[in-house]
């Protein structure tokens, strides 16, 4: 049947050899055991450098804990779809905040995120007459697109710049209305610029946010008196001690549409990657006054897994 010399015997022999169980074939081939993860895969491997997928903001987008960064979630680059999921808790004197969410990073270009926020009012609930331990809930759907630049490479003075939108849907509209909010859903628009200045091991982030949100939306959006968008700023600086460990600080300004003395937010954080896929973050957060209860400072804790 096989008349031509193609495939030549050596090729067939190689084929046969390749089909023999590994130990035999291994003698002939040096370390091809782990063949290229480069295959036309859907997700290749941990394609991003450690920590460059950042952590998850309370809104679910990748960034710091409270400030939006230009980073894209997940550990994949141009050929893959990465994913990261997180759980966050913030322990405050008068409240307990918890959120969790997931974000997809498509080709390191587009990020789609979702987060669910649960804000336990504990004793304050009773004091405000909404009920002891009343929990305010909100869904946040986000999309972010990297417009230009690169966090690590390229022109050292050109940051990675991303544009984002977040649709926030407060699930406790009655409470939002009772405190004077105009709406129970709202849209935030963010523009972030982030760069890792390798020569100083320093990551710097600056972001602008157009928003109407009161306490991030947990107290609704705008107020009857002031229902305009305002421009707010977010910043972060982080020093890289090793591939796996950074320490930094963040700032996030906020409007005070309700006239309840809403404060800007600050935090000091440490993030550690015990493995390539896990990032643990601990921070000391100062969230100021929330619903007239001042001095809300406490621990911010987050666990994130990313692929």
């Amino acid at each position: 049947m096989i008349k031509t010399i193609w495939p030549p015997a050596p090729a067939v022999a190689t084929l046969a050899l390749a089909l023999i169980p590994a130990p035999l074939a291994a003698q002939d081939t040096t370390s091809t055991a782990e063949e290229p993860a480069r295959a036309e895969g859907f997700a290749e491997y941990n394609a991003k450098l450690l920590l460059t997928n950042a952590v998850s903001t309370i809104d679910g987008a990748s960034g710091g804990g409270i400030s939006n960064w230009a980073t894209i979630a997940g550990r994949q680059e141009s050929r893959g779809i990465g994913v990261q999921a997180h759980v966050t808790a913030v322990l405050l004197p008068d409240y307990f905040y918890q959120s969790h969410g997931v974000a997809l990073g498509i080709a390191d270009r587009v990020e789609l995120s979702y987060a669910r926020q649960n804000f336990d009012t504990q004793d304050v609930g009773a004091a405000l007459g909404i009920g002891q331990g009343y929990v305010l809930n909100q869904d946040v759907f986000g999309a972010k697109v990297r417009l230009l630049g690169d966090l690590v490479y390229g022109d050292p003075l050109v940051p990675q710049v991303s544009l984002g939108v977040q649709y926030k849907h407060n699930l406790d509209g009655a409470v939002a209305a009772a405190v004077g909010a105009a709406d129970d859903d709202g849209v935030d628009v963010t523009l972030s610029a982030t760069k890792l200045f390798l020569s100083h091991s320093l990551l710097v982030n600056a972001a602008a946010r157009l928003t109407k949100a009161n306490q991030n939306g947990l107290l609704g959006f705008g107020s009857v008196a002031d229902d305009d968008y305002s421009l707010q700023f977010e910043g972060a600086v982080a020093y890289q001690f090793s591939r796996r460990f950074v320490i930094g600080g963040e700032f996030r300004s906020k409007p005070d549409n309700l006239g309840l003395g809403e404060d800007d937010w600050f935090d000091l954080f440490a993030a550690y990657a015990p493995t390539d896929n896990i990032t643990l973050t601990a921070a000391y957060a100062d969230l100021g006054s929330i619903a007239t209860f001042t001095g809300q400072r406490g621990a911010f804790l987050q666990a994130q897994v990313a692929f």
């Binding site: 049947m1 096989i2 008349k3 010399i5 030549p8 015997a9 050596p10 067939v12 022999a13 084929l15 046969a16 089909l19 023999i20 370390s31 782990e34 063949e35 290229p36 993860a37 480069r38 290749e44 491997y45 394609a47 991003k48 450098l49 994949q76 680059e77 141009s78 050929r79 893959g80 390191d108 690169d150 690590v152 490479y153 390229g154 022109d155 050292p156 200045f197 390798l198 020569s199 100083h200 091991s201 890289q240 001690f241 090793s242 591939r243």
Partner: protein, 176 residues
């Protein structure tokens, strides 16, 4: 089982004539390595330190962090070994001249770290054009270099300062 299935194929195979020149048959050209350097000659190009793609550091501090020329040699060697055996970039490095790479990458590192070398290799754009590297490949390479530097106990801040010299080269290296 598969082996038994291929066995008949093997047996049915008509034996090739004894005197077939397989290289000629498949158009394989012989590449002669230079007997002195062991390298495969490349197309002529203009040699210049500017080909290194970055200006050297001032002073001796960086070279000292890297253990001087000896340390840089070990880092360049380790980086070469890691990169040529890295399954993530195997498809790109396969068939390229490891001997030349080992020498030129050492020269480049040594030149940029101001440890008293000249760079005699090609510029980054022409030596990487057509390789089809992606940012993920560059990240893999950076991780290999980080490992090599870590093994030589280069302080992390100094590693980053060196990477800061290399990072902008992505514009000439990453193609897709």
């Amino acid at each position: 089982m598969l082996f038994t299935a291929t066995l008949p194929l093997l047996l049915m195979q008509q034996a090739p004539a004894e005197n077939v020149d397989w290289d000629a048959e498949f158009g394989v050209e012989e590449v002669a390595r230079d007997p002195e350097t062991g390298e495969i000659p490349v197309e002529p190009y203009e040699q210049s330190n500017a080909n290194a793609g970055a200006t050297p550091f001032d002073g001796e501090a960086m070279a000292a962090h890297f253990g001087g020329r000896e340390g840089i040699r070990r880092i360049a060697d380790r980086f070469t070994d890691l990169s040529f055996s890295d399954p993530r970039v195997a498809g790109i490095f396969a068939g390229h001249d490891e001997v030349r790479f080992r020498r030129t990458i050492f020269e480049q590192f040594c030149y940029i770290l101001n440890a008293g070398c000249d760079y005699t290799g090609r510029d980054m754009r022409s030596s990487h054009s057509g390789l089809g590297s992606r940012k993920a490949d560059l990240n893999a390479i950076v991780e290999n270099l980080q490992q090599a530097m870590r093994e030589e106990d280069v302080p992390f801040a100094a590693q980053n300062r060196f990477l800061a010299k290399l990072a902008p080269m992505s514009r000439d290296i990453v193609e897709r």
